[in-house]
């Protein structure tokens, strides 16, 4: 079994009928895809497989031998957030964070399929994702901003993030 995860080739020892989620978390120690419900109903394990969003908990390894997998770590370039990541930062679309990687990967592929998607299409496209903090308002606002192209990618969010952390400790 072979997978390309965020551009890196891996030969896997996880048995072929185990889920992609198990291989990512247990063998490759990539823990951004979350094991929420383990039956496809929460969206937290969603990753991109060959360009399409997939529930990694429902995907047996044997079905995707040789595929390219993108987790949230692979969304942006080195040192630069992707538009959807930057929009989530700007709109405070993250609370506990458990659902966020699934939401961002689904939203990223949604905007690839439907650039400029409106609010109704965004809500329909993300219908399979649960946020137990119920932060849906901010999540949808973030995706709407990314769909409008209303994201300033030149901003240095690393510095802002440090500043905010220092400020809160003072």
């Amino acid at each position: 079994m072979k997978l390309y995860v965020n551009g890196i080739e891996h030969d896997l020892e996880t048995p072929p009928l185990e889920s992609l989620l198990t291989a990512l978390r247990e063998e490759l120690a990539i823990t951004s895809p979350k094991a929420g419900c383990n039956q496809g109903g929460c969206g937290a394990c969603t990753v991109i497989v060959d360009g399409e969003p997939r529930r990694s908990c429902l995907t047996p390894l044997a079905a995707i031998d040789g595929a390219s997998v993108t987790t949230v770590e692979g969304l942006g370039a080195d040192g630069a957030l992707s538009p959807i990541q930057a929009a989530f930062f700007d709109h405070y679309a993250t609370q506990c964070g458990f659902c966020v990687s699934g939401f961002m990967l689904a939203a990223h592929t949604l905007l690839e399929r439907e650039p400029g998607a409106g609010r109704d299409r965004i809500i329909e496209g993300l219908a399979g994702h649960l946020c137990r903090c119920t932060g849906y308002v901010k999540i949808v606002e973030a995706v709407e901003a990314a769909a409008r192209g209303d994201v300033d990618l030149s901003r240095d969010r690393d510095r802002e993030s440090e500043f905010l952390t220092e400020g809160s400790q003072a």
């Binding site: 048995p15 072929p16 009928l17 185990e18 889920s19 198990t22 383990n38 039956q39 496809g40 109903g41 969206g43 969603t46 399409e52 969003p53 997939r54 529930r55 908990c57 429902l58 995907t59 047996p60 044997a62 079905a63 995707i64 031998d65 689904a106 949604l110 329909e124 496209g125 219908a127 399979g128 994702h129």
Partner: protein, 261 residues
């Protein structure tokens, strides 16, 4: 937990049929949306698993008024590309990711769930008079979807063939969330041999409503024919809805679907 399972990944339809054999001791994995939780939890420990991802059993083709749909065609691909009311029902399954992963063959073969019925696409396939091509003990055969569903488990679905109806109808009880199984939905299709009507969610599997069909053939209007629906089914009582509610909603849904013909 799956270490002892012999995993077969056929690379062609012929290889899939050969690997399936008579189906004894084998679990078929198409989209995986129903079977993977069973495997991951250890509730299901098959001797052999047949993973169909690379078997070339997907695709939609049309010829002479009939549409042939490969067994592993994703539910998402049915939307806008197959005859109504199948297309509308497909758009109503799960969410985007589930629709792009789940297959029509898997939905057709979905056993009733522990808490509610499932297999939403069975109703439009019954309404369209679908023909099912399958392999297994005794070789390949093509049969009406009613016979396939009555035959139980143990066959490998290869393809599903439907004709374009002259008109169709679809109605459903709205879902509170994309992940709820359908409480109840009705499919109707008119063709050369009259109107077929089927319901999903009323019982463990979808079923036709012959009393409604006969009333229509006898000249009854939609309201009068729809009132016959409860002659054909004893609605289920489960976690999604009570039998009381289903019995009152079924004639309404049938009337709605028939009014679209």
């Amino acid at each position: 937990m799956t270490h002892s399972t012999n995993v077969l990944v056929p690379q062609s339809p012929e290889e899939a049929v050969a690997s399936f054999g008579d189906g004894a001791g084998i679990t078929v994995v198409a989209g995986g949306t129903i079977v993977m939780p069973e495997l991951s939890s250890g509730r299901l420990r098959p001797e052999r698993a047949l993973v169909l991802a690379n078997a070339g059993l997907d695709g939609i083709s049309a010829a002479n008024g009939a549409v042939t749909i490969g067994a592993t065609t994703p539910v998402l691909a049915l939307v806008g590309a197959t005859p109504e009311p199948l297309s509308t029902f497909a758009a109503y399954v799960g969410d985007y990711e589930i629709r792009s992963q789940a297959t029509i063959g898997g939905n057709l073969c979905a056993p009733p769930g522990p808490e509610s019925p499932r297999g939403d696409l069975q109703a439009p396939l019954l309404a369209l008079g679908a023909r099912i091509r399958s392999a297994g003990a005794g070789g390949e055969r093509t049969e009406p979807v009613e016979d396939f569903l009555a035959g139980g488990e143990g066959r490998l679905v290869l393809a599903i063939e439907v004709d374009e109806p002259t008109s169709s109808g679809a109605s459903a009880i709205g879902r509170p969330h994309a992940h709820n199984y359908t409480i109840m939905a009705v499919a109707a299709a008119a063709g050369a041999d009259g109107v077929r009507v089927a319901v999903t969610g009323a019982g463990p599997r979808a079923q036709r409503l012959p009393s409604v069909e006969q009333a229509l053939a006898g000249g009854a209007d939609a309201t009068a024919a729809a009132a016959k629906a409860t002659d054909d089914v004893t609605p289920a009582d489960d976690a999604l809805a009570s039998a009381w509610y289903r019995a009152r909603m079924l004639p309404r849904l049938v009337e709605q679907a028939l009014s679209q013909l």
